[in-house]
């Protein structure tokens, strides 16, 4: 009996420091993790506008069948500060402004779930932007430096996608009377649209890498393959694609 209790007390004594260390480690790591993650929900209408100005990090926006926005952010640095502002029918997240004077706040990775008919205006100095399944009035994705832009299943009257280094992929439809602008200095631009799309195209690439595929017709005017100007269908929408050194490709859905 005594031997058993001695054994028990010895094993407890030996394992106690490890247990304490584990508990402390778990507590600290969970506290740290809690500081670096933000999740909020905002009740909105159907036609909401989302403005997000990030410094560095990825931005993922996707639609869901709810009249509310769910914002999740993972912050690399505990110094990062995010104060989303909801005003009328818009949600504004300005990481740049919220962290002025705080030094380097590292990457902040966002994921937003928004109503289908939302308009989104997204900016980041560095990082990828991905927007999917949006049918709002406008979609704007701007990466100041490098980062891919992927716009999937988009139907909007105005679409702007621009980066310096990185690929741009657009999969969606051109609305009647809409304007669409895609611009990259070094990266491939791929546009995937229905075969019956109607638009007026101005595509420029000094590298002469423009592939219009099934959308090419004899009405196109070209200047030694560096610029194509012409109408596809009745040219109801306006499309401008500029790529300095990458490929411009049009694909049929």
């Amino acid at each position: 009996m005594k031997a058993t209790s001695l054994f028990r007390s010895t094993s407890v004594r030996r394992s106690l420091p490890f247990a304490v260390a584990t508990v402390i480690a778990v507590c600290f790591s969970s506290a740290g993790f809690a500081q670096q993650h933000l999740s909020k929900r905002y009740q909105t209408g159907k036609n909401v506008r989302i403005e997000l100005r990030n410094i560095s990090g990825t931005i993922v926006v996707e639609s869901w069948n709810k009249d509310e926005i769910r914002l999740s952010a993972t912050m690399e640095s505990p110094n990062a500060h995010i104060v989303p502002k909801q005003m009328d029918e818009s949600l504004i997240v300005d990481v740049m402004n919220d962290n002025r004077g705080r030094g380097d706040v590292g990457d902040v990775n966002f994921k937003l779930q928004v109503p289908v008919s939302s308009s989104v205006d997204l900016e980041t100095r560095r990082g990828q932007i991905s927007v999917s399944n949006i049918r709002g009035s406008s979609v704007r994705a701007h990466v100041s430096t490098e980062g891919d832009i992927e716009l999937t299943n988009i139907t909007a009257g105005q679409v702007v996608a621009q980066n310096t280094i990185g690929n741009i992929f657009f999969d969606g439809e051109f609305s009647t009377g809409g304007t669409y602008e895609f611009k990259s200095t070094k990266g491939d631009i791929t546009i995937r649209i229905p075969g019956n799309s109607a638009f007026r195209l101005v595509a420029a690439s000094p590298a002469r890498k423009i592939a219009l595929g099934e959308f090419w017709n004899n009405g196109f005017k070209t200047q030694d393959g560096r610029r194509y100007v012409g109408d596809v269908g009745d040219g109801r929408s306006s499309v401008s694609v500029t790529n300095f050194s990458g490929q411009i490709t049009f694909l049929r859905k």
Binding site: S56, R125, T164, T185
Partner: protein, 227 residues
Amino acid sequence: MNCEKCQELIHDLLDGTLSRADEFTLNTHLNECLDCQSVRQDLSAILGFCRSHRGEYETPPNAQALWLRIRNVVEAEAANVKVKSKAPRKSFLADLFGRSWELSLPQLASFAVAIMLLVSIVTVVGIRRFGNNPPIEQPQPLASNINERVFQRQQVINYWKQRVELNKARWSPEMRDTFDRNLQVIDAAVTQSLNELNRNPHDDISEQMLNESLNDKLALLKEFSDL
């Protein structure tokens, strides 16, 4: 009967031209009103004096000429009054500076505080609006030479570049590398377009690319200047 009506009728009473009914009403009022009674006494005294001294004063030698002179004087004065009323108004400033200002100490202090406030507001607005501004971008090109045009844009770009360099130390090494790498890519595009334009000055695609690359460079610098 009121006093006003009564005093109108007193003349007729004294002249004896009032009807009996009016005379009765008037006398009833005069018996009750001391003021009107006093007016009747005064008028009665004047009339009595005139009647008793009728023919004692001399008529002017030429009554018609006298009346004309009187009328001329009256008309001249009336004309003067009109001219004075039509005299041009002094301007606001003339009025302001022509006025003699006598201010009490609290008024003077309030005036001084108001001036100080006004000057402060104008200074703050001026600094925000015009202070620390980049050189004004020249409107697109009257310069015939492309290099000259690029040089003009470069002046503005250099200003923003300096601002970026001031802040660069605060960035993370990754951000610095990213920025430099992207700036190099844009610079390469600018150089390539310039070379192409030097070979073929009328190549509008190269010109478009040059303009867009310079705009991209400027936009990049501006975006990173406040990072």
